[in-house]
C-alpha cells in the first residue's frame, strides 16, 4: 500500500503518545490525575534544539497535521498543504510537532478514556477543559521532547487561541506566535452558535446525559446538527453561493422534504461523516473552551494589559470573507500588541473561503507564511 511518492510530503507518519503521571490542575478547579497526549513530529530537532514549531489544531482536527498513515493512504494530514519538505513550514529546516489536546477523541485523555477512579469511561464526568489547560499539557509535551523554547507556535481559529495563549502562559518558551483567523474572545453571536450546537447534542435522546458509551449508542442526530451549524459558519455566503448556487439535487423541486438543494446535500453529508468519527462529549467541551477563552477577562476586559506579558514576535492573519472571526477581531489583537510595542505583522487577506480559508492554499497567504518562517533565525 504505497502512496505515490510526493517529494513535498513528509510521507508515511505515525502517531505517538506521551504519558504524564503528575496530576494536572485545571482552570475549572478539577484535577486530572494524569493524562496522555497524542502527537506527531516531522523533521529533525537540531542540536541546539532551536528549530521546533508547535502546530495547534482547531475544533475537529487532530495531531495528524501532515503526511499519511501507511495503512490508510487517504489519511492525509489536515494541514499537509502547509507542512512538508519545501512547503511554507519546511520540515527540512524545522522540527514540527503536531499536538492533540486533552479532552479530544483522537487519542489523548478525554471523555471516552477510562476514569481511573471508576475503571469506566469518564463520559459526562470528564472535566470542562480550557485553552489554558491545553497549553499546560502541551508544555509538558515540550519538556518530554526536550524543547525548552519553540521557534514558533502556529494555529488557526481555536488553534490560534492556543498560539496566543502560549505567549501568555510561557512568554519565555516561544519566540514567534502565528495567530491565524483568530479572535481574542468570542462574541455573544459566536457563543450563540456554540450553544445551539450543544443543545442539539444534549437534547438527543441517545445522549443520556453524557453517559452513552456503555449503552452502545451515539447521539448521532445531535452531532449531525451541531456539525451542520458549524459548517454554515465556516463558509462565507459567497463561497457557498459559488459552490452550490441554487442547484437542485434531483434536477427539479420535489415538493417534499427530501434533499432539494445541493447545499442541503452537502450539509447532510458533512453531518453524517462527522457523526461517525467525532465524540459528542468532546464537542461539548471544545465549544466551551472556545466560549471561555478570554485572556482580557482578568484585566477588566483590557486586552492591552492582558498581552503585556507576551514577549514573542507575532504574525497575525485574517481573511476578509471570514464572518465567524472577521478581520476586526484580529485587529483587536494587533492593537493590543502595538500598545505594548511588540513586534507584529498583520495580514488581511482578501480570500473567498470564509473561516476555513486558513486551511486553504491561497498563494498570498502561503507565500507570506513561507517568507515569515524563512526569516526565523535558528
Amino acid at each position: 500500500m504505497n502512496a505515490p511518492h510526493d517529494p513535498s510530503s513528509v510521507g508515511a507518519v505515525h502517531a505517538q503518545k506521551a504519558q504524564f503521571g503528575e496530576p494536572l490542575g485545571l482552570k475549572g478547579g478539577a484535577t486530572l490525575p494524569g493524562f496522555e497526549l497524542a502527537y506527531e513530529t516531522y523533521g529533525e530537532l537540531n542540536a541546539a534544539r532551536s528549530n521546533a514549531v508547535l502546530v495547534c489544531h482547531a475544533l475537529n482536527a487532530s495531531h495528524h497535521v501532515a503526511g499519511y498513515y501507511a495503512d490508510q493512504p487517504d489519511s492525509t494530514g489536515w494541514w499537509d498543504n502547509l507542512v512538508g519538505p519545501g512547503k511554507p513550514l519546511d520540515t527540512r529546516r524545522f522540527f514540527v510537532v503536531g499536538s492533540n489536546y486533552i479532552g479530544s477523541c483522537f487519542g489523548s485523555t478525554g471523555p471516552a478514556s477510562n476514569n481511573p477512579a471508576t475503571g469506566k469511561p469518564w463520559g459526562a464526568d470528564f472535566p470542562v477543559v480550557t485553552v489554558e489547560d491545553w497549553v499546560e499539557a502541551q508544555a509538558r509535551l515540550a519538556d518530554h521532547l526536550g524543547i525548552e523554547r519553540f521557534a514558533a507556535v502556529i494555529g488557526g481559529s481555536l488553534g490560534a487561541m492556543q498560539a496566543l495563549q502560549w505567549t501568555l502562559s510561557y512568554p519565555e518558551r516561544i519566540r514567534h506566535s502565528i495567530v491565524i483567523a483568530a479572535a481574542p474572545r468570542l462574541t455573544p453571536q459566536n457563543i450563540a452558535f456554540n450553544e445551539v450546537a450543544r443543545q442539539a447534542i444534549m437534547t438527543d435522546p441517545d445522549f443520556h446525559g453524557g453517559h452513552y458509551y456503555d449503552k452502545g449508542v451515539v447521539p448521532v442526530r445531535g452531532l449531525r446538527i451541531a456539525r451542520m451549524i458549524g459548517h454554515i459558519t465556516y463558509l462565507s455566503g459567497e463561497a457557498m453561493a459559488e459552490k452550490f448556487g441554487r442547484l437542485l439535487h434531483r434536477g427539479a423541486p420535489g415538493f417534499d422534504f427530501d434533499i432539494d438543494f445541493e447545499v442541503e446535500s452537502y450539509l447532510r453529508h458533512q453531518g453524517d461523516k462527522f457523526s461517525t468519527y467525532f465524540d459528542a462529549n468532546t464537542y461539548l467541551r471544545i465549544t466551551k473552551a472556545l466560549d471561555y477563552f478570554d485572556p482580557a477577562a482578568e484585566y477588566g476586559g483590557n486586552l492591552s494589559v492582558a498581552l503585556a506579558r507576551a514577549k514573542a514576535a507575532f504574525l497575525v492573519a485574517s481573511f476578509k470573507s471570514d464572518w465567524r472571526f472577521p478581520p476586526p477581531r484580529s485587529r483587536e489583537i494587533v492593537r493590543a500588541l502595538l500598545d505594548n510595542q511588540r513586534i507584529v505583522s498583520y495580514l488581511e487577506i482578501d480570500a473567498p473561503g470564509g473561516h476555513d480559508a486558513f486551511l486553504l492554499e491561497d498563494p498570498r497567504y502561503h507565500k507570506a507564511l513561507a517568507a515569515y518562517f524563512a526569516n526565523i533565525d535558528l
Binding site: V334, S345, Y346, I349, R364, Y372, N375
Partner: protein, 192 residues
C-alpha cells in the same frame, strides 16, 4: 532609495519609533533600522508589497489608511512618515489629523504639481506625465495633487507647524523658486 527617502532618513533621530504609512516594500523602514536603529512599523494595503515587507523582515500592517489609524494609540510614535503617498489619499485632512494624533512629528513628501514641467503640460492642454508623475490620467492611483504652496496652505489651516522643508529635483535640493523648479517636496511638521 528615492531622493525624498534619503532626506527622510537624515531627519529621523536615532532610535526614534517610526510609523511609515504606505511603506511599499519596507525598504525605508529597513534603512531606518540599519542606519538609525529606529524600530518601526509599516502600513501597506497592496498584497504584493506586504509580501515584500515580510520578506524584508520589517513589521507590516495590512490595513487601509483611508479608515484612519485606529490601530495606533495617541502619541505612540516619535515620527510618522507619509512618503509619496499623500497624493493617493482621499481624506487628506482626516489622515493628517490622525498622523498628528499618533506621532510627535510627521514627515510628508509628495510630487510637486507646481513644477514648471507640470505647469507647462497643463498650459499646453494635457495632464502632466513625468518622472515624478509617471501615470496617464486614466490609470493613475493619484487622486489629490498639490503644489508646495497648496500644502503649506493646508498646514496653516490645520494649525500644523512646518519645522523643515526640503524641495528636490533629480535628487538635488532646490532653493531658488522651489515651487517652480522642484519636482518633489519633503516637509517635517509638528502640531503647532
Amino acid at each position: 532609495m528615492r531622493a525624498d527617502q534619503a532626506a527622510i532618513v537624515q531627519w529621523v533621530a536615532p532610535e526614534s519609533r517610526v510609523l511609515d504609512l504606505g511603506c511599499g516594500d519596507g525598504s525605508l523602514l529597513r534603512h531606518l533600522w540599519q542606519e538609525r536603529q529606529a524600530p518601526g512599523y509599516g502600513v501597506e494595503i497592496d498584497d504584493a508589497k506586504v509580501l515584500d515587507c515580510v520578506e524584508n523582515d520589517v513589521n507590516v500592517l495590512q490595513v487601509d489608511l483611508e479608515s484612519g489609524l485606529s490601530l495606533f494609540g495617541d502619541h505612540t510614535f516619535d515620527c510618522v512618515i507619509l512618503s509619496e503617498t499623500l497624493q493617493t489619499i482621499h481624506r487628506i485632512e482626516f489622515l493628517m489629523r490622525e498622523m498628528l494624533r499618533v506621532g510627535r512629528e510627521v514627515i510628508v513628501s509628495f510630487p510637486n504639481f507646481g513644477h514648471w514641467n507640470a505647469r507647462l503640460q497643463v498650459a499646453l492642454g494635457r495632464m502632466p506625465v513625468s518622472e515624478t508623475l509617471p501615470y496617464e490620467w486614466y490609470e493613475t492611483p493619484n487622486v489629490h495633487h498639490c503644489t508646495t504652496a497648496d500644502f503649506e496652505d493646508l498646514c496653516r489651516r490645520l494649525r500644523v507647524r512646518i519645522r523643515e522643508r526640503l524641495v528636490l529635483h533629480k535628487g538635488r535640493p532646490v532653493t531658488f523658486l522651489p515651487n517652480l523648479l522642484g519636482s518633489v517636496a519633503v516637509y517635517r511638521c509638528t502640531a503647532a
